[in-house]
Amino acid sequence: MKMVTNAAGREVPAEINGNSAVPFKGVGKHRPEGSKYGPPIPTCIDYPDDNNKVIGSLREALERCGLRDGMTISTHHHMRDGDLINNQVFDIAHEMGVKDLVWLPSASFPCNDPVIKYLEDGTVNRIEGSMNGPLGRFVSGGGMKGMAVLRSHGGRVQAIQDGEVKIDIAVLTAPSADSFGNAKGTGGPSAGGVLGYAKADYMFADRVIIVTDNLVELPCFPMEIEGNYVDFVVVVDKIGIPEKIVSGTTQITKSPDRLLIAELTATFLEKSGLLHDGATMQAGAGGTSLAIAVYAHQILRKKGWKFRLGFGGSTKYMVQMLEEGQMGYILDAQAFDLDSVRSAEVNPNHIPYPVYNAYNYHSKGNLTAMMDIMILGATEIDTGFNGNVVTHSDGLLLHGIGGWQNCLHARNVIIPLPLFRDRIPVIVDRVTTLCGPGELIDVIVTERGIAINPRRQDLIDAVKGKGLPLVSIEELKSIAERICGKPEKVSFDERVVAAIKWVDGTVIDAVHQVRK
């Protein structure tokens, strides 16, 4: 395979699954050309006079959409680990004898592991999307025929919009829909809150199938998917297992060490002045992020301050701020727990906000760039502040990129991390897989000190002499190695099993097959 060296010094494939690829050129260096992708022009004369698009079964819908070898099928992950539909698409394809499909999920979950058998028997050629758990292990071991392409949530909608990926059929589950195909994330037995990942799929796919277990009277309002983009509506008994769609409740970490890191992060936010009246913020649903949100909430309450807005994935801790007056608005792409689902349904200041609008780098602005405080995670950070989120240090693919790369464009990116996990140092010489360039990562908070990127002299000045345990990133690395010992260098096979895309569609790194 022909490899080229990109601007980050990483060897990346010049060609991915038969298509030429653009190597990463640097942050903000790649300028796209041409027009957005346009799906074929439809006409309403092809649709029923009464606009009732309900059809008997998913199989019938797929057949009428012309499912055949080599097609690209997109799905979204709003049913999360409770999804009952996505795997069925491939069951049906297998029954029909269709081969070499490309699956473009917005994310996959452990419930999607059965797809492995279709990767093995050739029904599916490859997955372009996140890979977790057994699926990640399968791909890392070289089990997949095609090359995986990993994109951020924003990179996915950019690729769809720009025509890098052409979706033949989008199969979109919806907790509520009407017979015309209008759909939303609330209501019904499988309410998931918000359908923030569906927009690019329904706008740019050639064919769109909505699958729901809650057919409502026209109009399904407020619609997040608009019926005039929809080909068929399939009504089934159940699209998801409710307790797995959202966690009943997201929990802050119970680990005393993680709580210590969270507390230190909140103290940093306060002493640096990043936390102030009217600030904007985003934090994930991980236990440490949630704890930081709780501590930040306490500071806001004490000072009488308020976040102007928070960007979801929403959690009950954001909802508490919204309801108690410490947050003006929640803009939301997905709801993580039942409190968020309820809030999204009833609170007019809890606003569904599609990923297509928030994270798309090839659009007229970028919501994440307006965030003052961005709390993210990572599996590794290197001494150049570069970050890895998809592989562990042993090279196994175990996480998707999610919105991580998109969120790096926030004003202040803060990554709280334990300095080592069991024996494995998190701060390394060179990240195993480069997912985000160090120039976008500002602060690393660990239980053994805070390292600020030397590029952020303003932040260094802001916290100088304020009693925070400031250290250099090199010191953090040597503390970890002193405790854990210096790890061996892991070597990989030559074969590239996955390409990592940057937010602008260029290739930032490649993942190699792990040695047996």
């Binding site: 210590l260 042993d394 996990r421 024996r423 494995i424 239980e447 790890p487």
Partner: protein, 408 residues
């Protein structure tokens, strides 16, 4: 030499940062090592070579070794290996990891002992970050938190931790076992800069003196210069009756703690939240300690989820005269510290009194008064204690007595 397989350490899906060693000494064929580890791709070779160097040290040339590792740090690996070799050979030679230079600090009799964090002595995963939670003391426990079958393993692990783990300035404490096993614990641990020994179920001055004498012997043998302090734990009716004798049995006794689970069992009553059944004993410990000039330390609060309950408990302890409490979870540390620290009004009052006293002394007045109130010498003494404590805890700046600040 014992035949058979020695198994030390722990493995299993829930175990982290530990290692299980299965060692069998054979007659021939050299040493075979099988390493199963979730960090194998990064530390597999390091683990194997460390294990081999332990076997070399004990001159074991033929053995079958199987390792199940869950990310153990090097000091854990060598402790588990040594324990396995000891089980099979009965050797008394010690395979000691390097003493970290930062572990050479010393303690003092008067230092604060508000919070002291218990670490189960055979659970190495909790050791490495314990000091980061900033307790006044770390207790490596060999007694109640270690199962009988694991006592030998734990002793070696704790010894290695005393050498290889940085507790970031916390007072380095160990709780030994009761009776003869506890005496042997001392032989293993005292040479490795133990600051303080907790003596469980201490009932008589004699038993405390025995521990003290054993420590003296070890200090002599190793030429240790720093004292080793003692904290007897009173856990029985007899212990309570002998509290003052115990507190004054040695000049190394710096604090005395009460253990209420065992005490209430000894009385044959239930331990209640209100604590009427232990009121006398707690008061007695406080009075005996104060009379002996040492710190009285309260029992642990066992509901780790109830921080409000803990704070209320600390405040009532402090009101009784206790100067510290045990912690069984790191999150209890800041609550206990906050509870024992002087409150804002208390500091402000003490500041006024001390300033008034200085003012009177400067003017050569024999009587100190604040407003229209006369201040007695013991009140001044207590106020000075509060100010010193606040200074040490960083609650007030070192220039607290400057005019601009006292005008607040």
């Amino acid at each position: 030499m014992t035949q058979g397989v020695a198994i030390t350490g722990n493995s299993g899906p829930k175990v982290r940062s530990d290692i299980e060693v299965k060692l069998e000494i054979t007659d021939s064929g050299g040493v075979s090592v099988e390493v199963n580890s979730k960090v194998k791709s990064m530390y597999g070779k390091a683990i194997e070579s460390q294990c081999r160097s332990v076997l070399d040290f004990y001159e074991i040339r033929n053995a079958r070794l199987v390792i199940e590792d869950s990310g153990a740090l090097p000091f854990v690996i060598s402790a588990r290996m040594e324990a396995a070799v000891r089980q099979l050979t009965g050797t008394r030679r010690e395979f000691l990891p390097d003493m970290l230079p930062e572990n050479a600090y010393s303690s003092s009799a008067q230092r604060f002992r508000f919070s002291r964090l218990y670490l189960p002595g055979n659970s190495p995963g909790m050791f490495i970050n314990a000091g980061l939670h900033n307790p006044d003391g770390i207790i490596l426990d060999l007694e109640d938190s270690v199962a009988l079958a694991k006592k030998d393993d734990a002793r070696i692990l704790v010894r290695n931790a005393l050498r290889s783990v940085d507790f970031y300035g916390a007072e380095r404490m160990v709780r030994i076992n009761q009776g003869e096993r506890g005496m042997e614990d001392l032989d293993y641990l005292i040479p490795h800069n133990v600051h303080l020994v907790l003596i469980p179920k201490c009932e008589t001055a004699m038993s405390l003196k025995a521990v003290d004498a054993r420590i003296e012997m070890i200090r002599d043998r190793y030429g240790l210069k720093e004292p080793v302090f003692l904290m007897p734990i009173i856990e029985s009716a007899l212990g309570v009756e002998n509290a003052f004798d115990i507190a004054t049995a040695s000049e190394n006794v710096v604090a005395m703690a009460i253990g209420l689970e065992d005490y209430t069992a000894d009385l044959g009553v239930q331990r209640t939240k209100e604590g009427a059944e232990s009121h006398y004993a707690r008061n007695r410990i406080v009075v005996a300690s104060k009379a002996a000039g040492i710190q009285p330390i309260d029992s642990v609060f066992s509901d780790v989820g109830d921080m409000d309950g803990l704070l209320a408990n600390v405040l009532s302890s402090k009101a009784m005269g206790f100067e510290g409490m045990g912690c069984i979870h790191p999150r209890q540390v800041p609550v206990i510290r906050q509870g024992f620290a002087p409150a804002e009004e208390e500091i402000e009052k003490a500041r006024k009194i001390v300033l008034a006293f200085r003012d009177a002394t400067a003017k050569g007045l024999g009587v100190v008064s604040l407003g229209s109130k006369m201040i007695d010498p013991p009140v001044v003494a207590r106020a000075e204690k509060t100010i010193n404590l606040s200074l040490l805890l960083g609650l007030i700046p070192s220039n607290w007595d400057e005019e601009t600040i006292s005008e607040k």
